[in-house]
């Protein structure tokens, strides 16, 4: 990962389609069916969706990017815009490239005729009414139009329609297929140009999945050997629990829906005490409710994994929109000092591997691990390479010295918690104050392994002890594990990209990685070289690595999706630097263009500095 200069800059195919309309109009299903059809070719697909909190009404859109090489972000401007209504048009038209394709329904949308775009007024609502008697099939009519423009074959789409609507009955499927054909025919009749022929592309390499970030968490958990999840529905994390509920039983796992988030985290603590690998998915408001129990897990030294799919806050905030607003709470939200690990995946594929890593870290170091994703990753769908299942290894439960590698497609090591040896069971100290701070956990049912796990301060046996020396010793023991984590993180490869000799650096965390990476490529094309660091481990940070990165920098740009610069506070406090902070607090992810503009501004400042220095 992250070798300098290995990326392919030039791609032959790279286009972006946005379908915009109102919630409940089928914008999502239209986009998803199109994306799914393309995912079956050899192209990479990346989708981003945003929709209102309400079930019906309000602006909703899905954006699909198709490229012949890896896609890092949803892009900045679109090549083709489908507007279902006036609001959708007004909100999206600024993002349509000059010369791009605009498809709209003239019955519902008045457009600015002076725009230099290719305009196709197609009455898709009327076509739907004429075909199936209702306007609701217009999303499928649009799908037909798009298939004409991008040369997707209808039989493939018909199969996908059958998969999606089959449960609603033959009549619905048949109506939708007719609407699809009518859409395609209407486009042909109106002389709409076919701009490319996706059907001529190679069929997909069999080794790819097309999954969302939330599905990646669920699949990562299953791959890691998770056997239990307790959850409470909370947007935008809910589909993780839904996916686990569907698939965990296949691998002998169980899920239970609880009455609230406090009960959910309590249940996974109980199940972890029972010896199983556990996870609970939530979002910011749920994480707040869980905080007391997170501290309990730190105190009992039980492995648990919590996923926070961040959304706009505070309070109910923007449930269906993205924000990097929970970092400080995740790191610091605790009464008393309780060690925990915070990981921040950068994209859909990475989410899969970081989830496995979260389980490994939790099981090895016996503490909560919080995986901080966000709505933009959770709801994003991308083509992800299938891991090599022949390269999954279980780490021996008695191997206490084993250095575990970060899980990757070509090798996944699965950690299980250390168990006591027979010798240790003779006088079992559950909280033995070892050199690493890690003490083996006995599984209930093991004779001689009985112990008390109490949230009260305790001694090595687990017995309550409130003495001053004991409290200091046990606090140190718990935090020694975090030092071990820190040491392990420093030994990982540096998560830096770009020219190591330049004086401008950019730093981000989590889901902004793709947009920053693309902005860096754009800057390179414009003659500005920068380097980029993007730690996956927010806490503990690989401090030596970051110091090394910061060492020769003159300007540091710090990018994050919130108002106050939470990560920047963290970095400023730890490293005494004064970064130029770029924040976005609009519920939407950064586009590469926005970051590129920031880089160019800083480059100009850097130039002026050079002049004054002379």
């Amino acid at each position: 990962m992250g070798k300098i200069g290995t990326h392919k800059l030039k791609s032959k195919i790279d286009f972006i389609i946005r379908v915009a309309g109102e919630g409940g109009e089928g914008v999502m299903s239209c986009g998803e069916l199109f994306a799914k059809a393309v995912a079956r070719t050899s192209y990479h697909v990346f989708t981003f969706i945003t929709y209102p909190t309400e079930m019906k009404g309000g602006y909703a859109m899905t954006q699909i990017r198709i490229k012949d090489i890896t896609i890092y972000s949803m892009g900045s401007f679109v090549d083709c815009l489908v507007a279902f209504n006036q609001e959708a048009y007004d909100k999206s038209i600024p993002y349509l490239k000059e010369g791009g394709i605009l498809i709209y329904d003239p019955e519902f949308t008045k457009i600015d005729e002076s725009r230099k775009v290719i305009k196709y007024p197609i009455p898709f609502s009327k076509i739907s009414v004429d075909t199936i008697g209702r306007p609701l099939g217009k999303n499928v009519v649009v799908l037909g139009i798009l298939s004409h423009i991008y040369g997707l074959e209808l039989p493939g789409l018909e199969k996908l329609i059958d998969d999606r609507y089959g449960s609603k009955g033959e009549k619905v499927v048949e109506g939708n297929i007719r609407a699809l054909k009518e859409g395609s025919n209407a486009a042909a009749k109106m002389g709409v140009l076919t701009v490319m022929d996706l059907s001529k592309s190679e069929p997909a390499n069999e080794d790819y999945m097309f999954i969302s970030g939330n599905q990646a968490v669920a699949l990562g958990a299953i791959a890691a050997g998770c056997k239990f999840s307790a959850g409470y529905p909370l947007t935008p994390a809910t589909s993780i629990f839904e996916t686990l509920s569907k698939f965990l039983p296949y691998v002998g796992g169980k899920t239970i829906q609880m009455e609230d988030e406090i009960a959910a985290i309590s249940a996974i603590i109980g199940a972890s005490f029972g010896g199983e690998k556990v996870i609970t998915p939530t979002s910011g408001p749920g994480l707040q409710l869980m905080s007391e129990q997170m501290s309990l897990a730190s105190m009992l030294e039980l492995p648990i994994v919590i996923v926070d799919v961040q959304r706009g806050g505070p309070s109910t905030g923007l449930p269906t929109k993205t924000e990097q607003g929970d970092m400080k709470f995740a790191v610091y939200g605790s009464a008393g000092e309780s060690p925990r690990i915070i990981l921040a995946p950068t994209n859909v594929e990475d989410t899969f591997y970081q989830t496995i890593r979260a389980f490994n870290l939790a099981e090895k170091y016996q503490m909560p691990v919080i995986l901080l994703t966000d709505q933009s990753i959770g709801y994003r769908k991308a083509t992800v390479k299938m891991p090599d299942f022949s390269k999954i290894f279980q780490v021996d439960q008695y191997d206490r010295k084993k250095k575990v590698k970060i899980p990757q497609a070509d090798q996944i090591e699965l950690v299980q918690r250390q168990v006591p040896t027979e010798e240790e069971l003779r006088d079992y100290k559950r909280y033995k104050n070892t050199k690493t701070g890690i003490s083996p956990i006995s599984r209930p049912g093991t004779p001689g392994g009985q112990y008390l796990a109490t949230g009260l301060e305790h001694d090595e046996y687990g017995k309550t002890n409130q003495g001053p020396e004991n409290h200091l010793a046990m606090s140190k023991k718990r935090f020694r594990k975090l030092d071990e984590v820190s040491k392990a993180f420093e030994k990982n490869p540096m998560e830096t990209y770009g020219d190591p000799n330049v004086r401008i650096g950019i730093m981000g965390w989590g889901s902004t990685e793709g947009a920053i990476r693309e902005a860096r490529y754009l800057a390179e094309q414009a003659g500005v070289k920068i380097r980029h660091i993007h730690p996956h481990t927010i806490s503990p940070l690989p401090e030596r690595q970051i110091s090394k990165f910061l060492h020769r920098l003159k300007h540091l740009i710090l990018v994050e999706e919130n108002l106050t610069g939470q990560f920047a506070h963290f970095i400023k406090a730890k490293f005494g630097v004064k970064p130029i902070e770029v924040h976005k607090c609009e519920g939407m992810p950064f586009t590469p263009d926005e970051i590129f503009n920031a880089i160019m501004k800083v480059a100009r400042i850097a130039d002026e500095d050079n002049i004054t220095n002379i």
Partner: protein
């Protein structure tokens, strides 16, 4: 431990001794639970005790079992998670009237809906004893406590009526002074399939809201001809103003969470490998 022979004299911890006040009702419950484990011939390593916070929360400390002493009010969902993944363990959950009915009160309804196969013992002393005398959900109206020095302004809960309306599948009430009743109820409750609630009146001797003498006057066993499958009749006795009835109020045979989840496995029918699951996302 290896030193313990196959028949156990006691399941109590050898190293941790109770810290309750002399005369506390909880001593009696501790002895009754120990005796019950003996009767049922459990192996100590197969017993899991989960408790909350308060005097009753210390129960988990006093047994040589797998014990989890968690946070205030969360013993029940914690035990639910444990029992779900480890149906082979005998899970006993213990809390007080504050832990179980105030901060953790919301969890009981949902454990009841799941009919999770565990026993929940609530020890009611009508007061927050460990924190030295504040009002609890069962402190009577107008009684003076440290947090209601001019009299409690909330009505006391009627826990048995509440449990009946939650459809808990086994509900019994007894007192910490009645060793025989505690032993027989606990034995039956632990063997009951599904969620069993054992409500024990365990007076506090330091903040004596309901002294032993008064309790003795109040309690009366349910009539001999009482039918514990008759819920309406159970409600009548639960709401009695005259007496505090003791005995088994209700029991019902219905599917447990484990059985319901096993049904999920049957629906899932075949087991799949991770790679087979991931194939479905192609």
């Amino acid at each position: 431990m290896k030193t313990i022979s196959q028949t156990f004299n006691t399941y109590k911890s050898k190293t941790i001794k109770p810290v309750w006040c002399p005369g506390c009702g909880d001593y009696g419950v501790l002895a009754a639970l120990d005796k019950t484990f003996k009767t049922l011939e459990f192996k100590p390593e197969d017993i899991a005790i989960v408790s909350g916070i308060g005097c009753s929360g210390r129960f988990s400390h006093y047994f040589n079992s797998y014990s989890l002493h968690g946070t205030h009010g969360r013993a029940l969902p914690t035990a639910t998670g444990l029992k779900t993944v480890r149906p082979d363990l005998h899970v006993v959950t213990i809390g007080g009237d504050g832990d179980g009915l105030s901060i953790g009160g919301g969890h009981i309804a949902h454990a009841a809906r799941k009919n999770v196969d565990l026993t929940y013992i609530i020890l009611d002393n009508n007061v927050y004893g460990m924190t030295k005398g504040q009002s609890s959900p069962t402190t009577p109206l107008e009684y003076n406590t440290k947090t209601a020095p001019y009299g409690v302004y909330e009505e006391a809960l009627n826990p048995i009526a509440m449990f009946l309306s939650y459809n808990i599948s086994y509900i019994a009430r007894t007192t910490s002074t009645d060793m025989k009743a505690m032993h027989s109820i606990l034995t039956e409750a632990i063997q009951h399939k599904g969620f069993s609630m054992v409500y024990i009146m365990s007076p506090c001797v330091t903040y004596s809201v309901l002294p032993y003498a008064k309790l003795k006057d109040m309690v009366k066993p349910l009539p001999e001809d009482f039918d514990p499958s008759d819920k309406m009749s159970a409600f009548k006795y639960a709401y009695s103003d005259e007496h505090m009835y003791t005995g088994v109020f209700y029991k019902e045979e219905k599917s447990s969470l484990e059985e319901r989840l096993t049904k999920v496995f049957n629906i899932a029918e075949v087991s799949k490998t991770t790679s087979e699951i991931m194939e479905e996302f192609k």
